[in-house]
C-alpha cells in the first residue's frame, strides 16, 4: 500500500520535474517576450502534475516523445524486470517441487522434500522501496505537521489584526480589476508587509505603518496588488503549493520550481496592477517597492526564498520593462499555453487506445493484429482496481498475453496453454493478486487478476493462477466462483475475437472429428473408458489454499455424441497427480468435503456415482487415508497413526463409504491392497493376507536390506520402485513377483 503510493508519487515527481524543467527552459528563452502571467499559468501545470495522480492519455503528450520519461514513468516495470529473474528462479524452484515425484501415488514414504516457500524469499528491491517509502512518508508527515503548526500559529496572530476602514478605496480598486467580492482591509503592527489572510474569506492585512504612513496612491497600488492575488485565488494556490512541496520534499527540482513560481506569481500580479491603471505608474510603483523594502530592515533575510537575483531587483526590472501586451502577444500566448498544457498535462498513450486505432484498421482490411489481449493494470493493487471504473484504469502499454501466445482457447473452461516465456513476462504476483484487464478488439471487457494459489486472500474476480505452468485457465473467483452474477468471461466480444482468430476451441460439444480429440486430451488427462463414456480429469487452478502442493481438479466425461458432463470439481491434486479410480458403479477419489476455505485444508475420501450424483464423503482421521486403493469391491487405505509410529492400521471401506473396518496392523508403510493382500514397505516389500491369522511374508526378496526411497504407481498394478534418488527404478507388478528393470 505505502510502497505503491510511494511509487506513484515518484512517478508524479518525475513527470512534474520534466514539466518544470521544460518551463524553466521556456522561461529562460522567452522570458522577455511573454508576460509573467503566461509563465505563472505554466507553473499551474506542474502543480497539477504534482498533486493529481491521473491524467488523460493523448497523442500529443510529451511523454510519447521522451522515451526516458516513459521508462521512468513505469518505474515499477523497471522493478518488475529485476523481479522477473527472481520470479523465474522461483518458478524453477516450483517446478522442481512440482515435478519431482512425477505421477507418484506413493512417494516420500521415507523422506519428504520440504516445499520451498517463495514468500519467505526477500526481494532486495522491495526492501529498498519499503525503506525509502517510509523515509518519504516520515519526511512528508513531519513537514506537513510543521506547516500546519506554523500556519495556525501565524493565523492566531493575524486574527488580532484590526479592521481598517477605507471602503472607498477598496471599492475603487476592486472595480479596476473587476473583482466583485467584498474584501475587508485590516491593519496590524505584527506584520512586515501587506498580506492576504484567510482561505475562505480572504482579507487584506496591511502593516500599521503602511496604512498610516503611506500616500493614498501607494496604498492604492498595494491594495490593488493584493486584490489581484485574491481574484486569482493565489492565496489558495500558495498553501496548496506548500502542500505539494511537503509531499515532494525529496525532489530539489520541485523546491527550485516552487521558488521560481512564487517569483512569477508576484511579478504576474505586478503586471496586472500596472495594466489596470490608466496612467503609466511604473516608476511610482517600482519606487514604492523599494520604499517598502527599506522601510524597515528585517533581520531575517530571505532564507528559503532568497534565491538568485534578489527578488526585489527582478521585480523592479519586471515592472519597468512592462508593456501592455498587444493583441498578438495575447493570442499567441493563449495558443502556446493551450498547446503546452496539452503536451504536459496528458500522459503518453497506452496501447489500449492504440489497439482501438489498430483494430479499426484491421477490421477494415480483415487482418488481425493483437485482437485479444490481457493487459496489466498500472501501479494499482487489485483492491483499488476493483473500485475504479474499467475505463479509468491505466493499463501497461503492452499486453502481457495475446491470442498469439495461446494455441487454443477452451471456451468451456476458459483454459489455454501458454509457453514458459509468457510466464516469464508475468511479474511477481502478491497474495492479493496483480490486476489485469481483458481487452478484445480494443474494448475493455473485464477486470481480472493474476493470482497465486499460495494466497489465502479470496476474490470474486476472474483469476489466472500463475503457479500453474503451461496450461492455465481464467477461473472465475478464487477460490470459488461467485454465485448469482453473470459470467464476465463469456462476453460475446471475446467469443467473436477468438472465433475470428481461429483460437477457438469449442470444447467438447462439437468435437466430431476424433483426431481433434488430441487437443482436448491435452486439456484433461484421459482416465478410463466405460460404457461409451471417456473419463477425463483436469487440474484447475483454483482452491489449493494450503498446503502448497494441494490443488483442485475436475473430473468430467464425454461420450461419442460429443456431450460432456462435469462430474465433480473437487478432486484433490497433490504433486501433479490425483488419486482417482472407478470402483464398481462408482468413482472414488481423494477430494474435499466442500467449498469452504477450511475444507481445502484437508482431503477426504469422496465417492460419487458415475453420473456425478450421490456424492458421499468420508472423513478419515487427521487427513489419513493415504494410498487409497480399490480391491475386490472394497476401498483400502492407511489409517492414521502418529507419523513414524508403527504398526499402522489398514482400513477397509465399502464404496458407498458407510462402513469402516480395521483390517490389519502392519509394521511398515502401506503401499496397496491387491487381491486380498496388503503390500507394505519396511526394509523390503512385504505382503500380508488380510485375514487376521496369516503372518507377513517378504514378497520382494531382492529389495531386502536396500533403502527404498519411493514407490510410484504407474498403472493399475504396476509400480516403479526407486532405491535411491539417482538410480533408475525397476518395475514391480502385482501380484507376480516378477521384476523388470526399465531398460
Amino acid at each position: 500500500m505505502l510502497e505503491n503510493t510511494f511509487n506513484l508519487l515518484i512517478n508524479m515527481s518525475i513527470i512534474a520535474s520534466i514539466a518544470a524543467l521544460l518551463i524553466v527552459l521556456l522561461r529562460w528563452v522567452f522570458g522577455r517576450h511573454f508576460n509573467k502571467a503566461f509563465f505563472y499559468a505554466l507553473w499551474a501545470i506542474v502543480l497539477i502534475r504534482l498533486l493529481v495522480p491521473f491524467s488523460l492519455p493523448s497523442v500529443f503528450s510529451i511523454f510519447n516523445v521522451i522515451p526516458l520519461a516513459h521508462t521512468e514513468i513505469n518505474s515499477k516495470s523497471h522493478i518488475y524486470n529485476v523481479n522477473d529473474s527472481i520470479s523465474s528462479n522461483m518458478a524453477q524452484q516450483d517446478s522442481v517441487s512440482w515435478n519431482m515425484p512425477g505421477d507418484s501415488l506413493i512417494n516420500g514414504i521415507n523422506s519428504s522434500v520440504p516445499s520451498p516457500n517463495p514468500e519467505v524469499s526477500v526481494d532486495p528491491i522491495q526492501v529498498i522501496t519499503f525503506v525509502f517509502s517510509w523515509i518519504w512518508i516520515l519526511g512528508a508527515t513531519v513537514l506537513f505537521i510543521f506547516s500546519i503548526y506554523a500556519y495556525l500559529r501565524t493565523s492566531h496572530k493575524l486574527n488580532e489584526a484590526v479592521l481598517y476602514i477605507n471602503d472607498d478605496m477598496v471599492l475603487r480598486c476592486s472595480k479596476k480589476i473587476k473583482l466583485s467580492r467584498r474584501i475587508e482591509i485590516y491593519t496590524s503592527d505584527r506584520i512586515p508587509t501587506p498580506v492576504v489572510f484567510g482561505l475562505i474569506k480572504p482579507r487584506i492585512i496591511l502593516p500599521l505603518e503602511i496604512a498610516e504612513g503611506c500616500a493614498e496612491s501607494e496604498l492604492e497600488y498595494i491594495i490593488t496588488h493584493e486584490l489581484v492575488h485574491i481574484k486569482r485565488f493565489d492565496y489558495i494556490f500558495k498553501p496548496v503549493s506548500v502542500l505539494a512541496l511537503c509531499l515532494h520534499w525529496f525532489n530539489p527540482v520541485i523546491w527550485f520550481s516552487f521558488i521560481l513560481s512564487q517569483k512569477d506569481m508576484e511579478m504576474a500580479c505586478d503586471e496586472k496592477v500596472l495594466s489596470v491603471f490608466d496612467t503609466d505608474i511604473r516608476s511610482e510603483y517600482a519606487s514604492s517597492l523599494i520604499k517598502l523594502a527599506v522601510k524597515k530592515n528585517i533581520i531575517l533575510n530571505g532564507g528559503l526564498l532568497a534565491f538568485g537575483e534578489s527578488s526585489i531587483k527582478s521585480r523592479i526590472k519586471g515592472v519597468m520593462r512592462f508593456k501592455k501586451s498587444g493583441l498578438f502577444i495575447g493570442i499567441a500566448s493563449t495558443i502556446i499555453l493551450i498547446v503546452i498544457g496539452t503536451i504536459l498535462l496528458t500522459n503518453g498513450q497506452n496501447n489500449a487506445d492504440d489497439s482501438i486505432g489498430k483494430n479499426i484498421e484491421s477490421e477494415n482490411n480483415g487482418g488481425a493484429d493483437n485482437r485479444f489481449g490481457i493487459y496489466l493494470v498500472k501501479d494499482l493493487k487489485t483492491r483499488s482496481a476493483i473500485e475504479k471504473n474499467l475505463d479509468e484504469l491505466v493499463l501497461e502499454s503492452d499486453p502481457i498475453i495475446t491470442e498469439k501466445d495461446m494455441e487454443q482457447y477452451n471456451w468451456s473452461y476458459h483454459s489455454f496453454k501458454l509457453g514458459k516465456e509468457v510466464f516469464d513476462r508475468i511479474p511477481n504476483v502478491p497474495t492479493d493478486g496483480l490486476p489485469f484487464v481483458v481487452v478484445a478488439d480494443g474494448e475493455r471487457i473485464y477486470l481480472g487478476a493474476f493470482w497465486t494459489s499460495l494466497s489465502s486472500v479470496s476474490t470474486t474476480l476472474p483469476v489466472i493462477d500463475v503457479l500453474l505452468k503451461d496450461s492455465v485457465a481464467i477461473n472465475w473467483g478464487y477460490p470459488f466462483t461467485p454465485e448469482g452474477v453473470s459470467d464476465p468471461r463469456n462476453d460475446k466480444r471475446i467469443y467473436k475475437v477468438l472465433e475470428e482468430t481461429d483460437k477457438f476451441l469449442k470444447s467438447y460439444e462439437t468435437e466430431t472429428d476424433a483426431q481433434e480429440d488430441s487437443s482436448l486430451s491435452s486439456m484433461g488427462t484421459n482416465l478410463w473408458e466405460k460404457d461409451g463414456w471417456i473419463y477425463y480429469i483436469e487440474q484447475i487452478p483454483r482452491g489449493g489454499v494450503i498446503p502448497l502442493d494441494n490443488h483442485v481438479g475436475r473430473i468430467y466425461r464425454q461420450n461419442g455424441e460429443g456431450s460432456t458432463e462435469i462430474l465433480d470439481e473437487l478432486v484433490a491434486y497433490r504433486n501433479n497427480s490425483a488419486v482417482i479410480f472407478p470402483a464398481d458403479d462408482r468413482i472414488v477419489f481423494m477430494g474435499y468435503a466442500g467449498t469452504d476455505v477450511m475444507d481445502f485444508k484437508r482431503n477426504v475420501i469422496v465417492s460419487i456415482k458415475e453420473d456425478g450424483s450421490d456424492r458421499r464423503t468420508f472423513n478419515t482421521e487427521y487427513s489419513g487415508g493415504r494410498h487409497l486403493c480399490h480391491d475386490n469391491g472394497y476401498l483400502y487405505f492407511e489409517g492414521w497413526t502418529n507419523d513414524g509410529a508403527f504398526p499402522r492400521p489398514v482400513c477397509r471401506l465399502d464404496t458407498e463409504l458407510t462402513k469402516n473396518i480395521k483390517m490389519a496392523d502392519i509394521d511398515g508403510s502401506f503401499i496397496t491392497v491387491y487381491d486380498g493382500y496388503a503390500y507394505y514397505l519396511n526394509d523390503s516389500i512385504y505382503r500380508l493376507k488380510l485375514d487376521w491369522t496369516s503372518k507377513p511374508e517378504i514378497w520382494d526378496k531382492a529389495a531386502l536390506g536396500k533403502k527404498i526411497v519411493s514407490i510410484e504407481k504407474t498403472s493399475d498394478n504396476e509400480y516403479n520402485v526407486f532405491y535411491d534418488e539417482s538410480s533408475k527404478p525397476y518395475i514391480l507388478r502385482l501380484p507376480d513377483e516378477k521384476r523388470y528393470t526399465t531398460r
Binding site: A161, L289, I298
Partner: protein, 122 residues
C-alpha cells in the same frame, strides 16, 4: 506603578474599553466585532492577556478598565524575532513583497534602474 506595554491592536481594543467601561464581555465581543472585525475567540484571548498584564479585570463577565491612557506605553511588536512566524508568512500568505535587507548601495542601484528605464521610454 510602571507603565504597561500595550501593542497596537490591544491599544485599539483598550480604546473601546475606556469608552464603555464597565462593559459586559458579551457586549464587548459585539463591539469588537463591529469596530475591529474580531472573532469572539480573538476578543476573549485579548481580554485574558490584558487581564494578566493588569490593564483590565474581568469579573462576573463584566470588563473594567484598571488603567488610563497615561499609564500605557504603546509598544512596537517583537514579532520579527519569531522565525516560524516570518517563515510561515512567506510560505502561506501572498504578500506584497518579501522584506529584504537592502544596503544603501543596493537601494541606489535599484533607483538607478528605475531612472534608466524611465529615460529609455522618453
Amino acid at each position: 506603578m510602571g507603565k504597561i506595554k500595550i501593542f497596537d491592536a490591544e491599544y485599539k481594543f483598550m480604546n473601546i474599553i475606556w469608552e464603555h467601561s464597565p462593559i459586559p464581555s458579551t457586549e464587548l465581543v459585539k463591539v469588537a466585532s463591529r469596530k475591529l472585525g474580531w472573532k469572539k475567540s480573538t476578543t476573549y484571548t485579548v481580554i485574558r492577556r490584558l487581564c494578566e498584564r493588569g490593564a483590565i479585570k474581568n469579573e462576573n463577565s463584566i470588563v473594567y478598565s484598571l488603567i488610563n491612557r497615561e499609564q500605557v506605553m504603546r509598544s512596537e511588536t517583537e514579532e520579527h524575532l519569531d522565525k516560524v512566524y516570518d517563515g510561515s508568512l512567506k510560505l502561506f500568505f501572498t504578500a506584497f513583497l518579501q522584506k529584504e535587507k537592502l544596503s544603501k548601495d543596493e537601494v541606489d542601484e535599484l533607483k538607478k534602474i528605475i531612472e534608466e528605464y524611465g529615460k529609455k521610454e522618453k
